[in-house]
């Protein structure tokens, strides 16, 4: 279609024609249409047309768009600002140079949008540029940079974030650092966290959850006393997070557990099991207990096979499968034959098959 005809469609009064015009532009995205698309993005009264314009702008190489879009980052219209970020970050080979320049912009809000755009590109090359945000004078931008570095696995910046955590007073900043370090933290991070949060009682309750997130990914056995203390004080609100912590500990350090450690962890798991938690957590606890093993655990799992709750039974099934005791397997076969809930019966049967202990034909 000729350029003139397309422009006519784009200027038309009815939605359908404008959308048709946009579709034509998509077929052959030419520079001449950028201006109109940006205009539609900003001013078209129809949301569906604005969305189509936004999608179409993504079809252009960023070199066409940068001059037109960067000014939009300072637009008064919030939708337009966010649209500009979306389009700028749509390409893997995004305008990184341009965005890097904007990370030093005098306006802190523009700096923030630049960081957002860099993050949204998901381009590993953006990581180094985002890291400049760690020195931003505005704490919100530092927080954004820390969050994004964690998410993008910017491991080489762990120490920079360790330093920020060490000096941080603002609880939001502390939380952000902890959550990022949960992803990319190193040995120094463990030391910093041990130092800064030595006494569980002193941990600001809002920071507690992030602290536990860090522990669930990076914690080692040296944190066991703190974990126990936290359970005593705040087990009722941090139950879910404590489960994750124990799960992480078990999966990373199981072979380092002394007999005493095993007992301590089992005790915690059992206490959590009887505390008031959503039932999906019960499932996890039972499976974790199975990891720890022991006759007492087998007894517990067997008892849970007849629990009224779906997740409890599910945990019991998986737990017993893990333990692989002859008694447990026998009970599983009974369960697969007699259980009321069809889904659970099928799961049990499947598990038995995997264990090489299928039901006799005609069962289930």
């Amino acid at each position: 279609m000729k350029v003139k005809s397309i422009l006519q469609l784009l200027a038309s009064d009815d939605e359908l024609s404008r959308l048709k015009g946009i579709e034509e532009v998509q077929r052959e995205p030419r520079e001449v249409f950028v201006e109109v698309l940006v205009d539609l993005l900003q001013h078209d009264p129809s949301q569906i047309v604005r969305e189509a314009a936004l999608e179409t702008l993504k079809c252009y190489p960023s070199s066409f768009l940068v001059p037109r879009l960067v000014p939009l980052l300072e637009s008064d219209d919030i939708f337009v600002r966010n649209a500009a970020v979306t389009v700028l970050s749509a390409h893997f080979e995004a305008p990184l140079k341009e965005l890097a320049r904007l990370v030093n912009h005098p306006n802190k809000h523009v700096r923030k949008l630049a960081l957002d755009a860099l993050f949204q590109t998901r381009n590993p090359l953006a990581v180094d540029i985002i890291a400049r945000g760690l020195q931003d004078p505005d704490v919100n931008n530092v927080i954004a940079a820390v969050e994004y570095l964690g998410k993008m696995e910017g491991f080489r910046f762990a120490d920079a974030i360790n330093d920020i955590l060490e000096r941080a007073e603002d609880p939001f900043l502390m939380c952000t650092c902890l959550e990022a370090l949960a992803r990319i933290g190193n040995r120094n991070s463990i030391a910093v966290v041990q130092r800064k949060f030595a006494n569980p009682r002193d941990i600001n309750c809002f920071v507690l959850f992030s602290y536990l997130r860090f522990l669930s990914e990076k914690g080692d056995l040296s944190f066991l006393p703190q974990i126990e203390a936290i359970f005593e004080e705040q087990g009722n609100i941090a139950g879910k997070e404590l489960i994750d912590v124990l799960k992480g500990l078990i999966s990373r350090h199981r072979k380092d557990f002394s007999d005493e450690d095993v007992q301590r962890v089992k005790t915690l798991l059992k206490k959590l099991l009887v505390s008031a938690l959503p039932s999906s957590n019960r499932y996890e606890l039972l499976v974790l207990l199975a990891e720890m093993g022991g006759e007492d655990v087998e007894k517990l799992l067997l008892a849970h096979l007849s629990h009224p709750n779906f997740f409890a039974k599910l945990g019991a099934i998986e737990g017993l499968a893990k333990l692989r005791t002859p008694g447990g397997i026998e009970k599983l076969r009974e369960f697969a034959a007699r259980e009321e809930n069809q889904e659970l019966r099928e799961i049990a049967a499947e598990i038995l098959r995997d264990l090489g202990a299928p039901l006799p034909a005609g069962g289930s």
Partner: protein, 125 residues
């Protein structure tokens, strides 16, 4: 019955942080990563008591979200508090014009956040 609060923000750490604060005060918390998801949660749940929302978000920004809520039949009465990095007077004006009840700039101090919520929900839980 605990009051239910919907947190809307594209930053995960922000959602988490605000959720921690609210949960520790006994509120039930739901979160959404942008206005579009927030609207759906609002309609799905049907019984949200208050909304905390950021402004800069992809898909549907905070102001659009607020306008839609205020224009709806079912949910126009819900108290909405904006929590954002945008701290200029013109942003606040726009926020209130769109229909927000209150405006907080980030980083939100936990006590202040809870106090502000308390203004609209009275003595929760």
């Amino acid at each position: 019955m605990s009051k239910k609060i919907l947190i809307v923000d594209d930053s995960e750490v922000t959602r988490n942080f605000h959720a921690y604060i609210l949960r520790s005060a006994g509120f039930k918390v739901l979160s959404a990563q942008d206005g579009a998801e927030a609207l759906e949660l609002l309609y799905l749940e049907g019984d949200i008591d208050l909304i905390l929302t950021d402004l800069n978000m992809p898909n549907m920004d905070g102001l659009s979200l607020i306008r839609r809520i205020r224009g709806s039949q079912e949910f126009s009465h819900i108290p909405i508090i904006i929590v954002t990095t945008l701290d200029e007077a013109k942003d606040k004006e726009k926020g209130f014009e769109a229909g927000a009840n209150y405006y907080i700039t980030k980083p939100a101090q936990p006590a202040y956040l809870l106090e502000s919520i308390g203004m609209f929900l009275g003595g929760n839980r």
